[in-house]
């Protein structure tokens, strides 16, 4: 073993880690912003799958909510007075749009819940239906509406800290990265902590885990499996609704057909990579965000020296494909294993009552 030969590799690796840290620190705020729909989508998937319902329709749920948020806010803007925007750019039309997006998320989830829990249809097919119909109907209506009355109610703005705070070393950066966001991103940051605590520290969490792992046993101790699954899938719809609203009333202010562009599937990847826990899922979404930021940073200003030569030789598409590749790897158990809740995807049928 020629030890010396390996030294340059180690040096390069250390340089790379340093570069990664610099990129992550510099782009911290943007990484969290862009991870929001993925994180919220993954939390929606979490609510479904931990109670035993597979959801590959996150993409369609987000797309529907994105469309509804934009259109309802724009309609509300025509009748309601916008007034002066409150903190975070909150106006009445935007709030109406947000409420409508949440309702849309719940409604689409209700369809998924009904198909997968009551009808006991194949849950993958149910998710596929949602994706196809959402893409078609929002594309259809989006096209017709934008031909006639292209309008927008604007969007939420980020929390702004008083000038000077950003200048404080470390703390300033931390506040800027974590706090200076719009309301939807902030609610994800709060939501992930709340859900993590609830999952392991509350009666609801215990029951949800029981229903996702062994519904029959849960039922014998008096948990209503069907009702809990319904409730969790519908609550998950709220999160998908938030994720959708992010596209059209927080990050941007208009709708284009198919604008979620596969983020619902990255959310699924994040959920699996994060091993079906809230903190893991959102952490994975952030990690995917870092990979994305890295790709962009290399294109815009590659590091100098050997590392730069090496990194610019790596196709940027590899960084974009990384989330999907690592998900396959952890699912296959090559490096650590990610195991789904045992009853995930299995419809539950009550045992018939004794006669």
């Amino acid at each position: 073993m020629d030890f010396v030969l390996h030294l340059p590799v180690i040096g390069l690796l250390l340089q790379f880690v340093g570069y990664l840290v610099v990129v992550s620190v510099q782009n911290g705020n943007l990484i969290i912003t862009l991870a929001t729909p993925i994180g919220l989508g993954a939390l929606c998937g979490f609510m479904n799958e931990r109670s035993g319902v597979v959801n590959i329709g996150i993409e369609g749920m987000m797309l529907t909510a994105a469309f509804i948020a934009w259109y309802v806010a724009a309609l509300a803007g025509q009748v309601l007075p916008a007034g002066t925007p409150g903190p975070l750019g909150i106006t009445l039309p935007l709030l109406v749009g947000l409420a409508a997006a949440l309702a849309a998320g719940v409604l689409v989830s209700a369809l998924h819940a009904w198909l997968s829990i009551t009808v006991r249809a194949d849950q993958i097919i149910s998710g596929t239906i949602i994706n196809i119909v959402a893409l078609g109907i929002t594309g259809y209506l989006g096209l017709l509406i934008s031909q006639n009355s292209p309008s927008s109610a604007g969007n939420f703005s980020s929390l702004s800290l008083p000038a000077g705070v950003d200048g404080i070393p470390v703390l300033g950066w931390l506040l800027n990265t974590v706090i200076e966001h719009g309301p939807i991103t902030l609610s994800m940051l709060v939501g992930v902590v709340v859900l993590q605590v609830l999952l392991y520290r509350s009666r609801w969490g215990l029951r949800t885990r029981a229903v996702g792992e062994h519904p029959r046993a849960a039922e014998t101790v008096g948990i209503d499996v069907i009702a809990l699954r319904y409730r969790n899938v519908l609550l998950g719809g709220l999160l998908a609704g938030l994720a959708g609203a992010w596209f059209t009333i927080e990050y941007g202010n208009s709708f284009q057909g198919g604008m979620t562009n596969g983020r619902g599937f990255i959310a699924l990847a994040a959920l699996i990579f994060g091993r079906w826990t809230p903190v893991g899922a959102v952490g994975a979404a952030l990690l995917f965000g870092v990979a994305d930021a890295l790709g962009t940073a290399i294109r815009q200003g590659p590091p100098t020296g050997d590392l730069g030569t090496f990194l610019t030789a790596v196709p940027p598409q590899l960084f974009s494909a990384l989330p999907y590749i690592v998900t396959i790897v952890v699912l296959a158990g090559v490096v650590g294993r990610s195991v789904a809740p045992a009853a995930d995807g299995q419809p539950y049928e009550r045992e018939s009552k004794a006669t």
Partner: protein, 370 residues
């Protein structure tokens, strides 16, 4: 097959299509104020344009068959998976990999004679698709990683791979946008109409071959047995692992052939932003065709007709083509909610082998076959 059984078999798909058309009509009427003012007759004129765009002229008929070709192949890719109890959502990725491989090899041999160039380019597409389909099969067989998740992930890996190849090593010199070089002599000959290319024949041939493989060979019997009951299959000395890998590889092969056919038969090159919904369309086709090759042929033709006719519908009636996606989703909805359709029309269940479709996704937690 008795008439009674045929009616029972066909009743749900036919009713699902009918109900989808009704839902589409309601959507059109509700959205008509956005098109040309409220018009309760809009669905009639739209569907009339759809039918005439799909069947109204020899050219329209050719277009229908050409549009149906990738749908039939992708439908078979999904349908064969269903028979083995596998859900292949990776049609999109397998299609793209097959397309880019055919485009690359086609461009490389573009100056050779067609007799050499065409088989080579097709073979590249087919092999690449099969290899890409084999990956989830292998992962499922030996690690238990569920094919639904791995195929979805591989779709996105394929999109990035195509983006890299077409903007990088495969990029044609001097083209105004990122695309692969022309496939030249590897282009499939046009057999009929303006663009009825050779690929159409592959779809037509693939149907009886798939039927024969599934229902008249030992391996087909193994596939269906594994799909019906993996434990029983293992007890009978069959090889579930082999069946999983083989079925998904064959699915990838068919989807790859579809991709190669589109590139070599229609565009003649591959653009960087080539997008396709053929994977999800294939799911609709397979479910509507009840995972049976002949049913898949029919439902592929139906969906192909809808795609082909939708352009005329948009031009003549002003109804955006996206309404076809809505119809397709609603068809799937009524197929999935078969119970609901039966209740609406008061019909009894057909005793056919469709039960397996409902147990495809038993669980996506890891279950390594023993």
């Amino acid at each position: 097959m008795t008439l009674k059984r045929a009616v029972r078999l066909l009743s749900i798909p036919v009713l699902a299509i009918f109900l989808a058309l009704v839902v589409g009509a309601v959507l059109m009427i509700l959205s008509s104020p956005l098109i040309n003012g409220l018009d309760p007759g809009l669905p009639l004129s739209a569907y009339a344009a759809l039918v005439s765009g799909a069947f109204g002229s020899p050219d329209a008929l050719v277009q229908t068959v050409v549009s149906a070709t990738p749908l039939i192949l992708a439908g078979l890719a999904v349908g064969i998976g269903f028979k083995a109890g596998l859900f292949n959502i990776g049609g999109q990725g397998q299609f793209l990999v097959g397309a880019v491989a055919a485009a690359a090899v086609g461009a490389a041999v573009s100056t050779a004679g067609g007799v050499v160039a065409i088989p080579l380019a097709l073979l590249a597409g087919v092999v690449a698709g099969a290899a890409y389909g084999f990956i989830p099969g292998f992962l499922k067989a030996y690690t238990g990683a569920h094919e639904v998740v791995t195929t979805i992930m591989l779709n996105y890996v394929a999109i990035q791979m195509v983006g890299y190849l077409i903007t990088g090593p495969l990029r044609a010199q001097g083209a105004t946008f990122a695309r692969s070089p022309s496939v030249g002599n590897a282009a499939l000959p046009v057999l009929f109409g303006s663009n009825g290319h050779l690929g159409v024949l592959f779809a037509v041939i693939a149907v009886p071959i798939a039927w024969w493989l599934l229902f008249r060979t030992t391996i087909g019997f193994e596939v269906r047995t594994v799909g019906a009951s993996p434990d029983a299959a293992r007890y009978a000395g069959m090889r579930p692992r082999l069946v999983m890998m083989l079925t998904l590889a064959v699915g990838g092969l068919l989807a790859g052939l579809a991709g190669a056919g589109e590139i070599l038969g229609i565009s003649g090159y591959m653009p960087a932003g080539y997008s396709t919904n053929v994977g999800f369309d294939g799911i609709t086709v397979a479910l509507l065709g009840r995972a049976n090759p002949i049913g898949i042929l029919l439902s592929g033709l139906l969906l192909g007709a809808m795609r082909a006719g939708s352009n005329l519908m948009q031009i003549q009636a002003g109804v955006p083509v996206q309404v076809i996606d809505v119809l397709q989703g609603v068809i799937l909805f009524f197929l999935a909610a078969e119970l609901l359709v039966r209740r609406i029309f008061r019909i009894r269940a057909a005793r056919v082998q469709v039960d397996e479709l409902q147990t495809v996704t038993r669980s996506y937690s890891s279950q390594t076959p023993k």
